[in-house]
């Protein structure tokens, strides 16, 4: 009898080992991991991105999930800091055994997490659709471990520069955050200007963590003294709003443009509040580039779907963030349920579910790369198709431009309104 028992024990052990090696966790759940800013000056970004994702994931799970398996999103707070981001990633991979990573926020954080992905390349852990347009995860050697959805900062800033130059505003100044993200945007502006033999006429930086209440007078002075035609701002919403306020107060009235990462609605809200307090309009001559269409345009199918699902969504914080962090909270003053960042989260989730579905029966990490690279002309509902390939790890490339009118963003139909 003895050998028989040992045989049974052996089989149990083997299946145990086999299970933990192949996939994430239980057979009825797919675990995906996220590390983002849920606290600090960029907390709105993590929260909105998460909300957009959960709005879609709730819907997908209610409708059978992926081949019967529910998708569970585990999200941790990194406060927009690289070290916590690294720790969270290790925890997600080693302890939580996630299938893949998704929707990380920020250039400094993502840039530092990339080497971790390389270390775990045997496990085929990929980072999907990080919320950053920086170059490191679009270039060798790390492009092999990341799939981007959004266009890059280089594309956004190039678009802004081309438009400004096109309407007779070639003297461009840059206001940017003193970190890798700011530097990315600065680099994008510079490269595009160099193509036409031009250069940045003035630059000013601000220290990360600067709040709306701080004074940006020094930066305004530096930029103003170069008499620019336009300013491109690469910052977070608090600092960008503060700079715009101080610029307008300081007599700098040229168009100021921001990129998608700024957190457009949050910035607009701060400007409107300040405008009310000081009886001024800080929102004129404001341009924002975005990587998704404006969510007021209901002619776009994805927008309709997004608005529908967001209206059904119950705002909440990720469980791990809620219990563990006294600094994180559901941001107050949300005028509107809708926003560019949550729209992007929604699109991220929608495409991710599509990828998971396409994995089919061979639900295995090693199949991910091939599956994604095979996506060609997938209609996500934007009018623009999503495509990946062996050489291209970025799904979309169109940049949209909005301006603020009467307290909300509308698409810019014609740039000539900003002509000199």
């Amino acid at each position: 009898m003895r050998p028989f028992y040992i045989y049974i024990l052996g089989i149990c052990l083997i299946s145990l080992i086999y299970n933990t090696n192949t996939l994430a966790q239980d057979d009825d759940k797919i675990l995906i991991g996220m590390s983002a800013a849920f606290s600090g000056p960029s907390r709105n970004l993590g929260y909105e991105l998460y909300s957009g994702m959960m709005a879609y994931l709730d819907y997908a799970n209610k409708n059978g999930g992926v081949n019967g398996k529910k998708i569970e999103l585990i999200a941790y707070d990194d406060g927009y800091n690289p070290l916590p981001a690294i720790n969270n990633t290790l925890r997600l991979i080693d302890q939580d055994n996630v299938f893949l990573l998704v929707s990380y926020v920020g250039t400094p954080t993502v840039t530092r997490v990339l080497p971790v992905l390389k270390i775990y390349e045997d496990k085929d852990i990929f980072l999907f659709f990080p919320f950053t347009g920086a170059e490191p995860q679009r270039q060798a050697p790390y492009k092999d471990y990341v799939f981007n959805l959004r266009p890059s900062y280089i594309q956004e800033t190039a678009g802004l520069v081309r438009n400004f130059v096109g309407i007779g505003r070639p003297r461009i100044a840059v206001f940017y955050k003193a970190d890798a993200y700011g530097r990315s945007g600065w680099d994008g502006v510079r490269r595009e200007l160099h193509k036409s033999g031009l250069d940045i006429v003035a630059e000013a930086t601000y220290r990360r963590g600067a709040e709306f209440e701080s004074s940006f007078g020094e930066q305004v002075d530096i930029i103003k003294s170069a008499a620019p035609d336009a300013v491109i701002s690469i910052g977070a919403y608090e600092a960008s709003a503060g700079f715009i306020r101080d610029a307008r107060e300081g007599g700098l009235d040229v168009p100021i443009a921001n990129v998608s990462f700024v957190g457009s609605e949050s910035m607009l809200e701060l400007l409107l509040q300040a405008g009310e307090k000081n009886s001024k309009d800080y929102t004129h001559n404001l341009i924002n580039s975005e990587v998704v269409p404006n969510y007021i345009d209901s002619s776009i199918p994805a927008v309709r779907e997004y608005r529908e699902l967001m209206s059904r969504y119950t705002p909440r914080l990720p469980e791990a963030v809620d219990t563990g962090n006294s600094h994180a909270h559901v941001p107050e003053n949300k005028q509107d349920k809708y926003g560019f960042v949550s729209f992007e989260g929604f699109l991220n989730a929608k495409l991710l579910v599509e990828v998971l579905k396409r994995l089919g029966d061979e639900f295995n990490n090693s199949e991910i790369k091939r599956t994604v690279q095979n996506i060609s002309d997938y209609d996500i509902g934007l009018g623009e198709y999503v495509s990946f390939s062996a050489g291209n790890n970025q799904g979309l490339s169109r940049v949209y431009y909005n301006t603020a009118i009467d307290g909300s963003y509308v698409p810019i139909k014609n740039w000539s309104v900003f002509e000199k």
């Binding site: 170059e135 003193a178 220290r207 020094e218």
Partner: protein
């Protein structure tokens, strides 16, 4: 004592200050050079492939090191492609980066004291990347930190010395007080004695009695001598007073005796004014107050007088 304190404080502070300055300066130079070299070694690829964002991540990390004030990376074309300045690149730095050229082909770091824009005083360390062809790294170490460390330590030292000084004074004061206070009392007592009419010696003596009782040292001896002297004085005066009183009493009695004696003697001279044949006068001069021999005159018979 204050002057002594002043000398001690200044000398020790100056010495400490100098040592700290030397030590920290050397450390900063070494640190800065190491950082500059380290960054220039690791940024070759990033510079050649033009990745300012990645370069930025690298230099942002180094900014956390104590003493590092700024880092600038210049590319092969002489343009600043990465820096840590807020709110803007100081003019002096922009100038410096323009001047970078074949000076640095020898791969040595150059160190240059640099003050600008009222912002501070820095040690600027330059390190070439790939001989300068790929670019340069400039690291600025903040000399203000050295200064503030020196000031802090010197201040602490001064405060310490000052406190010790105060304590010493207080202690000395107490100690001397213990000696001088009884001396003062004794001196005071002596002068009171000198000025007094010697009638209240016992009172004065009582004033210094406690010192005489309690002090076991020389002061106590002095006090006891005082007390003894005052007692003796007091005694003498008492004796004298008594003696005088007795003498006066005796004198008084003698006076009475003399009066009586004199009153017994004939007062009227001449005693027999109606006898014209003779006139008698007499005088008595006692050796002291009263005499042993007296006189008187009577008529034995109407014709004979005897005395």
């Amino acid at each position: 004592m204050i002057i002594l304190f002043g000398i001690v404080a200044t000398a020790t502070s100056a010495l400490s200050g100098w040592n700290i300055y030397r030590g920290l300066s050397d450390e900063f130079k070494a640190k800065g050079s190491f950082i500059a070299l380290s960054i220039s070694d690791s940024s070759v690829d990033m510079l050649i492939n033009s990745e300012p964002a990645t370069l930025q991540s690298v230099i942002d990390e180094y900014l956390n090191i104590l003493g590092v004030a700024y880092i600038v990376i210049v590319d092969g074309a002489g343009d600043i492609v990465s820096h840590t300045f807020v709110p803007g690149i100081p003019g002096r730095i922009a100038e410096l980066s323009d001047q970078l050229d074949s000076k640095y082909l020898n791969l040595n770091s150059e160190i240059l004291p640099l003050t600008y824009d009222n912002i501070g005083d820095f040690l600027n360390i330059t390190s070439p990347v790939l001989g300068g062809v790929a670019g340069y790294v400039m690291v600025g170490m903040d000399r203000g930190i050295i200064r503030s460390q020196i000031i802090s330590i010197v201040l602490k030292q001064q405060v310490l010395i000052f406190v010790i000084f105060i304590l010493t004074i207080a202690f000395s004061y107490l100690l001397i007080g213990r000696i001088s206070s009884p001396l003062n009392i004794l001196a005071d007592n002596a002068s009171k004695l000198a000025r007094s009419d010697l009638s209240n010696i016992d009172e004065l003596s009582a004033e210094i009695e406690p010192i005489a009782q309690s002090s076991k040292d020389e002061i106590g001896d002095l006090a006891r001598s005082f007390v003894h002297m005052e007692r003796r004085l007091s005694e003498s005066i008492r004796n004298l007073t008594e003696t005088v009183a007795v003498k006066e009493r005796i004198q008084g009695e003698l006076n009475v005796a003399r009066e009586i004696q004199l009153s017994i003697l004939p007062q009227q001279f001449p005693p027999f004014p109606h006898v014209k044949e003779i006139s008698i006068d007499a005088k008595i001069v006692p050796a002291k107050e009263v005499g042993g021999d007296l006189y008187d005159f009577f008529f034995l018979s109407p014709k004979v007088i005897t005395r």
